[in-house]
């Protein structure tokens, strides 16, 4: 038991002493991830559901015109996925930089 406790202790940085460079790199990765996900957010709703809708309607999914489907169903499914992807990836990024709040 004590062995396990001992190996765990060094990983816990009490005061979370992070340097400015690390903070910057972490923030940049967060912003990049955010940029990618928000582009998808825009593409499925404003893109597929509104701006490119007429063009997309020549295709269909089941019995629904594709653009119309994106506006009424598809975009919502993608939104849900985006949040969980962000949550999962952010957790990885935070762990990488030792900034996660797992032990808080």
């Amino acid at each position: 038991m004590t062995d396990i406790m001992d190996t765990n202790t060094p990983h816990q940085t009490e005061d979370h002493d992070v340097t400015e460079d690390v903070t910057k790199a972490y923030w940049r990765e967060n912003l990049t991830l955010m940029g990618i996900l928000l582009s998808i957010w825009f593409a499925v709703s404003f893109g597929a559901g509104i701006l490119a809708r007429d063009w997309l309607d020549q295709f269909s999914i089941g019995g629904a015109p594709l653009g119309f489907w994106f506006a009424q169903q598809g975009a919502i499914f993608v939104f849900v996925a985006l949040i969980f992807v962000y949550s999962f990836r952010m957790h990885q990024i935070e762990k990488k930089y030792g900034m996660d709040d797992d032990n808080d």
């Binding site: 979370h16 903070t23 629904a64 119309f68 009424q72 962000y86 900034m99 808080d104």
Partner: protein
């Protein structure tokens, strides 16, 4: 309908009892528990509570109907009221949770080291929440009067007492766990009829698949509906009437507005930590998406079914009088549910051409379905699907759950804005925790009394609730919160300028095109501004920064308000749709207001001095989930 009435009474009483039971169990003892449920709600439960908080009576009862009538144009609500959660999860929720306080004005006031900014935020929060809650109470009253045959006033008061009970007793903690129960009630009540309707019309139990499936004749359901509607003179279902720009603007305003609504944001203060706020937003959207992807399917089923069974059907006067049971009518007769709902006044038939059959047409001259309430498409579903009477009772309980949960969330914003932001942080800084709790509870009681009045005598502006609440949240809260997190250079001057620009521009546009600047409206606005100026004067006096000019302007505005209320000020006529700016409707104008707010805030911030170092440090800290303590400007005591 008698057994239906009994079942309805049973479900309503049973669910209300459940909510009261939860409230007694989850009493709040400290301000921490009262405002943010002690910061320890598990993310999934918070997601469920957020979903119930978010989905109002309008989402539950009216949305499917609105989409059924507007087809593609209804997409703005579907995308707009879900897409905002992506913005919340990515841009706001985790940072606001890391900030670790109680309310939205808390963040605005601390981040912008300014009592003026805090007060502007309080006024926005109060205005948005009051508009919204009035609509909910009205919804509760209408549900009661339609189904339990009690006057609307009694319904409003009963509903208000229930909300009051668990909000005052349990605060955020009580509200959270009641909302979890309310979500379960409302989603069950929405899904059961939807599943049966889908089975009946498309042969699949999953409405989302039925939506893209085929009708009985083998052609796609949507194509079928498009053709039928065109034959009857309507717009095809999959095409809209709104311009592309307007659809874009409305969808964006609703999304950004969702992310900026205070009653949604405060839900994310209740989870234990920043990473939980992200997860919680994901869960919230899952629970919301269940209803929001079903609603467009219900819309298509209901509109198709309505045309199939009602149009050109033979109306039986005997069945309408209840002399013969509708089940005994021959093939091709108007179905039984039509007569039932005709009695409630939500449906109406006038036989213009005297042929004894119902013609449903787009042209008002030949259309014989003279009353067709949009809520009918959700309410009549159980009967259309031949479900037993108790399902109707369940749907009513579901509608009430949706209205009450939203009302409770809004009540929380009002109560905390008054007790915490206004009294504790501005007017009486020395207040003890016990006193603050007492004020919070009294504020909730006062807010409920106002909501009861607004529900019984709905003021004109309640009709514009969507435009107001989302437009103002999009144009005032979202830009300052966003810039406050992502731009360290953003300062007090920029925030106040940005918020006021968004608020005034959007507010003026909506009032001009939805209500019109009549003398009374001008008077009410002047009174609101007078109160704001007076609070600002009192609030900044302790800092020694107050000027008597504020007090004089408050007096002047109050006088103007009085003149307006007695009708002396000019009546400016309401704007017409052809005067819309770039063809953008008032619902979508929040998007324009938001861009201006961003532009003004950025420009003013760049032209004025950088924010103090401790504020910049605070921004640095909220960006990192793991660092806990952070310095806060001013004399705010540690929690």
């Amino acid at each position: 309908m008698d057994s239906t009435l009994l079942w309805t009474a049973f479900f309503v009483i049973a669910t209300f009892g459940l909510y009261i039971g939860i409230a007694v169990w989850a009493r709040a003892g400290s301000t921490d528990e009262f405002y943010v449920a002690g910061h320890d709600v598990p993310p999934m439960f918070n997601g469920m509570a957020t979903a119930a908080d978010w989905m109002s009576a309008a989402s539950f009862l009216s949305m499917a109907g609105i989409i059924a009538f507007s087809g593609y144009d209804g997409s703005v609500y579907l995308m707009g009221w879900t897409g905002g959660y992506v913005l919340l999860a990515l841009l706001l929720a985790p940072y606001l949770r890391k900030f670790g306080k109680f309310t939205v004005p808390d963040f605005v006031g601390d981040r912008y080291y300014s009592q003026a900014a805090r007060i502007v935020a309080v006024i926005c929060a109060l205005f948005i929440s009051f508009t919204y809650i009035a609509g909910q109470m009205r919804g509760v009253g209408i549900a009661f009067s339609n189904f339990l045959h009690v006057p609307i006033e009694v319904g409003v008061i009963v509903g208000a007492i229930i909300v009051l009970f668990y909000a005052v007793l349990g605060g955020m903690k009580g509200i959270t766990y009641t909302q979890v129960a309310q979500y379960c009630v409302l989603i069950f009540a929405f899904m059961v009829p939807a599943i049966f309707l889908s089975l009946q019309i498309t042969g699949t139990p999953i409405p989302q698949l039925g939506f893209i499936g085929n009708a009985e004749n083998g052609t796609p359901l949507l194509l079928n509906l498009d053709r039928t509607l065109v034959d009857l003179g309507f717009q095809p279902y999959t095409e809209g009437l709104k311009s592309k720009l307007d659809v874009f603007a409305i969808a964006l305003a609703l999304m950004v507005g969702t992310a900026g609504l205070p009653h949604v944001i405060i839900r994310f203060f209740t989870v234990p930590k920043a990473s939980d706020a992200r997860k919680s937003a994901g869960w919230a959207l899952v629970f919301i998406a269940v209803l929001y992807t079903t609603a467009p399917a219900v819309a298509v089923f209901a509109r198709s079914n309505f045309i199939d069974t009602v149009n050109e059907s033979t109306y039986s006067v005997e069945a309408a009088r209840g002399e013969i049971p509708a089940a005994d009518l021959p093939e091709g007769s108007t179905p039984g549910w039509f007569y039932n709902w005709e009695r409630t006044g939500l449906l109406g038939f006038t036989d213009h051409n005297g042929d004894g059959r119902i013609q449903y047409r787009a042209d008002p001259a030949t259309n014989e379905v003279t009353t067709l309430d949009r809520d009918i498409f959700v309410l009549a579903n159980p009967e259309i699907g031949n479900l037993p009477g108790w399902v109707i009772g369940l749907v009513v309980a579901g509608g009430l759950a949706a209205a009450l949960s939203t009302a409770a969330g809004l009540l929380m914003v009002i109560s905390s804005a008054v007790s915490h932001d206004l009294c504790k942080k501005v007017l009486v800084p020395g207040m003890s925790e016990k006193q603050e709790l007492l004020v919070a509870r009294s504020a909730a009681v006062a807010a409920v009394l106002i909501a009861i009045l607004a529900g019984i005598y709905p003021p004109g502006f309640v009709a514009a609730v969507v435009a107001f609440a989302f437009g103002l949240a999009a144009a005032s809260f979202f830009p300052v919160i966003f810039l406050g997190i992502f731009w360290k250079r953003m300062n007090k001057e920029g925030a106040i300028a940005g918020m006021s620009t968004g608020l005034l521009m959007t507010g003026a546009y909506i009032v001009h095109f939805k209500i019109g600047f009549s003398s009374v409206v001008l008077g009410v606005l002047a009174v609101i501004l007078a109160i704001a100026a007076a609070i600002l004067f009192l609030g900044t006096r302790q800092e020694g920064k107050s000027t008597p000019a504020l007090m004089y302007s408050a007096g002047g505005l109050a006088l103007v308000g009085l003149l307006g209320l007695i009708g002396v000020l000019p009546n400016i006529p309401m704007g017409t749709t052809d005067q819309w700016f770039l063809g953008i409707s008032p619902e979508g104008f929040g998007t324009v207001g938001m861009f201006f707010s961003f532009a003004v805030a950025t420009a003013v911030a760049l032209a004025t001095k950088t924010p103090p170092q401790d504020v910049q440090d605070m921004v640095e800290d909220i960006r990192i989930p793991s660092i806990r303590a952070h310095p806060v400007h001013g004399n705010a005591p540690a929690e």
